[in-house]
């Protein structure tokens, strides 16, 4: 019909039901896939937590033993208390740092503002495990460079700072999440009409009255949401508790789940019981975050011409602000990277000194490049990240078309189901997928496919978010006019919707790729020899005590991620994506 060049009226009859057919097949496949991927593992996790392990000799039996064991001991109370302390501390530290920096950047005339840009990419280029390792090299009581330097300068006997403690964990994780707080609070400040503050100034209020009575009160929903998000992220975080907490016996939920699985014989039931608790906490957290952000929309009054606010003149204090920022920048990027760089040129790890300087060597890099696991893990990482990014972006584009553009009953449910993985901590997701494919043998357990499924599940909500943002901007009439021109649903989707979504698709695709490249906490429960990814290789090097080799790999990894993020930024600019 189209080949003839005439959308002839008489020939219109067969087209609708045929396009109708394709439409429902595509929609059906995507919906089934989403539901399968998001709901099944959760159900099995729940099931497993009430059953004994299924073995060859014994079938699984119903039991409350796992919960009894998990909640019967005072150990669990300690665990809960540790987790809450750790997460609260991390959230507060990250929030205070991030908000202060966001305020300085958005509302004052602090010098070196260009550096603030780096804050938006640091969390992407320095994976948690490398950041933690770097801070061990900086802050451990025996070999930590900062400790040794301070001891040397002030002639102290005792190290000042012990990173292997609850406070150390809070410090490292809080620093690591502070750029995220910076981004969230920057968005909150920007969402506010600056004339709300200016009108307070014109009413005679001074800086503090404006900040307290207007800025803070108006950003209150965003502040609470940010704190909650940070709390959820902290309670989910695995690298810091595992590397800093486990050696000194400070357990939190994530590290306990990991230990329960890795004990012999592994206690999957117990791990599931812990995981259910963790999941309950994160679910409640995410629920309140979504409630808060809809409450915040009432306040986000972006009207008027959005005149850029006059930055507050800090006077001589701006140099203090700049100093604070530079110290922060040192702590979060420069020192961690330099310490890894230093260590990567050593034969055996040693503290910087004249003598060590003369023993610089490229051995760690030689080792890394000849390491048999390396090329395999690079390959696995690439395949997994490219594959999951592509699948996620395509599937979620259909999902969000259904949610945004159609009036199908139950579409809100679909939206929620696709966003469901957001509440899964990586470790819990890994655990539930592991349990499911252990019990339902479809031959993917122990292959790279199980990790692929984990990645797709875990990062689907990100893809959905990117697609929804751009889908909302596509006016319904663009589709309708394609239909009026005689295009079928498939053609419309391929020729109109997807090209219009392209900037969002591309941005989301790269973002998902970057986060999958760094994925550790799900992979750690799912990998087997032969399916290691890069972050797992780093983890193994750490377990083996190969610190200098780890550093060499870490430096290369950070450089590669940096390159990838720059590419993403460049593409974003080229296609006019604003994040």
């Amino acid at each position: 019909m189209q080949a003839a060049g005439y959308p002839a009226m008489t020939a219109a009859a067969p087209a609708p039901w045929r396009s109708f057919d394709l439409k429902w097949i595509v929609i059906g496949v995507c919906v089934v896939f989403t539901v399968y991927i998001a709901v099944i593992p959760l159900a099995f996790l729940l099931w497993q937590s009430f059953f004994t392990p299924h073995t060859a000799a014994k079938a699984a039996r119903f039991t409350l033993n796992n919960y009894a064991q998990a909640y019967g001991s005072t150990e669990t109370l300690r665990l809960f208390w540790n987790s809450v302390q750790f997460s609260t501390g991390t959230a507060i530290l990250a929030f205070v740092l991030g908000t202060g920096l966001a305020w300085m950047n958005e509302r004052t005339n602090t010098p070196f503002k260009a550096l603030f840009f780096a804050l938006s990419i640091i969390p992407l280029i320095i994976p948690g495990i490398l950041f933690t390792v770097a801070w061990i090299l900086l802050g451990s009581p025996k070999i930590g460079i900062i400790n040794l330097a301070l001891q040397h300068w002030f002639g102290l006997e005792q190290p000042l700072f012990n990173v292997y403690s609850l406070w150390g964990m809070i410090w490292v994780d809080g620093l690591h999440y502070s750029p995220m707080a910076f981004l969230l609070m920057t968005a909150a400040f920007r969402a506010m009409d600056p004339s709300l503050e200016e009108s307070a100034t014109m009413s005679g209020a001074n800086i503090f009255q404006v900040a307290w009575r207007v800025t803070l009160k108006l950003t209150w929903p965003a502040i609470l949401a940010t704190l909650l998000i940070l709390f959820v992220r902290a309670i989910e975080s695995f690298e810091v508790p595992a590397l800093l907490g486990l050696p000194v016996g400070i357990h939190v939920f994530t590290s306990s789940i990991y230990q329960a699985v890795h004990r012999y014989p592994s206690q999957i039931g117990l791990a599931s019981a812990y995981a259910m608790t963790l999941l309950a906490i994160t679910t409640i957290g995410v629920y309140f975050v979504s409630r808060l952000s809809s409450a915040g929309n009432r306040y986000a009054t972006m009207t008027g011409k959005g005149f850029r606010p006059r930055p507050i003149d800090l006077g001589p204090w701006r140099w203090v602000a700049a100093a604070i920022f530079i110290v922060y920048f040192l702590l979060i990027v420069v020192l961690p990277f330099l310490v890894l760089l230093w260590s990567s040129f050593q034969k055996f790890y040693s503290v910087p000194s004249w003598q060590a300087l003369q023993n610089l060597t490229l051995d760690p890099y030689r080792f890394i490049f000849t390491y048999p696991n390396l090329s395999r893990s690079v390959w696995n990482t690439l395949v997994l990240s490219l594959g999951s990014a592509t699948v996620i972006m395509l599937v979620t584009s259909v999902i969000c078309w259904i949610v945004v553009k159609t009036k199908l009953p139950g579409r809100w449910l679909l939206d929620n189901i696709a966003s469901l993985p957001m509440v899964f901590p990586g470790l819990v997701l890994g655990l539930s997928i592991m349990i499911f494919y252990l019990n339902v043998d479809v031959g993917i357990y122990g292959t790279i496919w199980i990790m692929f499924i984990a990645y797709v599940t875990r990062f689907m909500p990100y893809g959905l978010r990117y697609n929804t943002a751009s889908m909302l901007q596509i006016h319904k009439e663009l589709e309708e006019s394609a239909a009026m021109s005689g295009a079928s649903w498939g053609t419309t989707f391929r020729r109109v919707i997807l090209p219009l979504l392209k900037p969002g698709l591309l941005a989301g695709w790269i973002y998902v790729m970057i986060v999958s490249v760094r994925e550790l906490s799900s992979s750690i429960l799912l990998y087997s020899p032969g399916t290691e990814v890069l972050s797992i290789t780093i983890w193994e090097l750490w377990e083996n005590g190969q610190y200098v080799e780890l550093s060499a790999l870490g430096v290369l990894f950070i450089l590669a991620l940096f390159f990838l993020v720059m590419l993403a930024q460049w593409l974003g600019k080229k296609f006019g994506i604003k994040e």
């Binding site: 009108s199 008027g304 850029r308």
Partner: protein, 366 residues
């Protein structure tokens, strides 16, 4: 009362280029008068207003209110905006959504320099809310107000501290057309009753003509002309002003020499010689542009008496109810004329055009 002298304000935009927003802006507003800055978007009117408010720091110039200098580049004075004590209404109204109507209006009194008792605050706020007819809404959440009510609340908040100077930044532009006309009267009544010195920024010429004691028309950072609404409309000094305020016909011409009365000139145009008025001292052979408003292009089916009369042909006409717009052709020139609907000459027929010399303004060609 308000005196702005030699004001220059510049700021960098997102790409770091310098935007020359206000260039050598000077004007004075007498006590109790409403002064309007009128111009298209990007002409520097809002920046000028924000410089008076203190929200923008000018590069050079001087701003004083009464005997109080609030900004002077030569004496290095810059009074912070919260110490200037001016009331300001923003385009978006900037009503704080976390406070109710009363709290919004009471805020300036609570944060002000002068400590007031609760009762004093209550009295003042209720008085000002009554003035804008919001007294019955005092306990309502601010977000539950309609557009017009929010606008009045913003005005009340600006007036509650009895400011020396009221600054209004396009206060009516977010309202729908009917409401805008209503609020125009309200605003005028309130300003005239309170006799508060006001600077008003707008891009809407009819608003400016309706409200102001005097108007400054701005373009590209410069003030083009300052005058009363009538002066601006009837005696524009530049092509920009004639074009921006109201609708006009432009006709190119060359000066032949002085006309019959002082200030009058004869100019040659493509449809004939015209007797015109000009404030410039024109000499023979100067190139000029003649500006004549459509309502001043008189049409008649019988030849009228006097000068400046030509025969023309009806090219098109549009019936608009209260009046009819005619496009008439004089030689190769099309003039727009706004006539009473009783004139029913059909398209293609001939009629006569008369232009009063006082209504034909000759402007020096750019």
């Amino acid at each position: 009362m308000l005196k702005v002298q030699g004001l220059f304000t510049e700021y960098p935009n997102e790409r770091g280029q310098v935007v020359k927003a206000a260039q050598d802006v000077s004007f004075e507003v007498p006590e109790g008068k409403l002064f309007t800055l009128l111009g298209p978007s990007g002409c520097g009117k809002t920046t000028t207003l924000r410089s008076i408010a203190g929200l923008e720091r000018p590069r050079a110039g001087e701003i004083s209110v009464g005997d109080r200098v609030v900004y002077s580049s030569s004496r290095n004075i810059f009074v912070a905006p919260n110490r200037r004590g001016f009331g300001m209404v923003f385009q978006s109204y900037a009503i704080w959504p976390h406070m109710n109507v009363f709290q919004n209006a009471a805020f300036p009194l609570e944060v002000g320099q002068r400590r007031l008792s609760r009762k004093e605050i209550r009295d003042k706020v209720m008085r000002v809310l009554t003035a804008v007819q919001l007294e019955s809404f005092a306990d309502r959440e601010a977000t539950k107000l309609s557009g017009g009510q929010q606008q009045r609340l913003a005005l009340a908040r600006a007036l509650v501290m009895e400011p020396e100077l009221l600054l209004l930044d396009e206060p009516l532009s977010n309202l729908d057309a009917k409401l805008r006309e209503l609020m125009r009267f309200e605003l005028k009544r309130l300003q005239r009753e309170l006799r508060i010195t006001t600077v008003y920024v707008t891009h809407d010429q009819s608003e400016a003509l309706a409200l102001s004691h005097s108007i400054a028309v701005m373009s590209e950072g410069h003030i083009q002309q300052i005058g009363t609404p009538r002066e601006i409309y009837e005696r524009p000094r530049t092509q920009f002003v004639a074009d921006f305020v109201g609708t006009t016909n432009f006709v190119d011409g060359t000066v032949l020499g002085p006309g019959a009365a002082p200030g009058h000139f004869r100019i040659r145009t493509e449809f004939g010689d015209v007797e015109v008025l000009s404030d410039d001292s024109l000499r023979s052979n100067d190139r000029v542009v003649l500006s004549v408003r459509p309502e001043d292009v008189e049409l008649a089916e019988t030849r009228p008496d006097g000068d400046n009369v030509w025969e023309a042909r009806v090219d098109q006409k549009v019936f608009l109810g209260e009046f009819v717009d005619f496009q008439v052709k004089l030689a190769s020139r099309i003039l727009l004329s706004r006539c009473h609907p009783s004139l029913r000459t059909p398209v293609g027929d001939a009629l006569y055009v008369k232009l009063h010399p006082e209504k034909c303004i000759a402007l020096k060609a750019a």
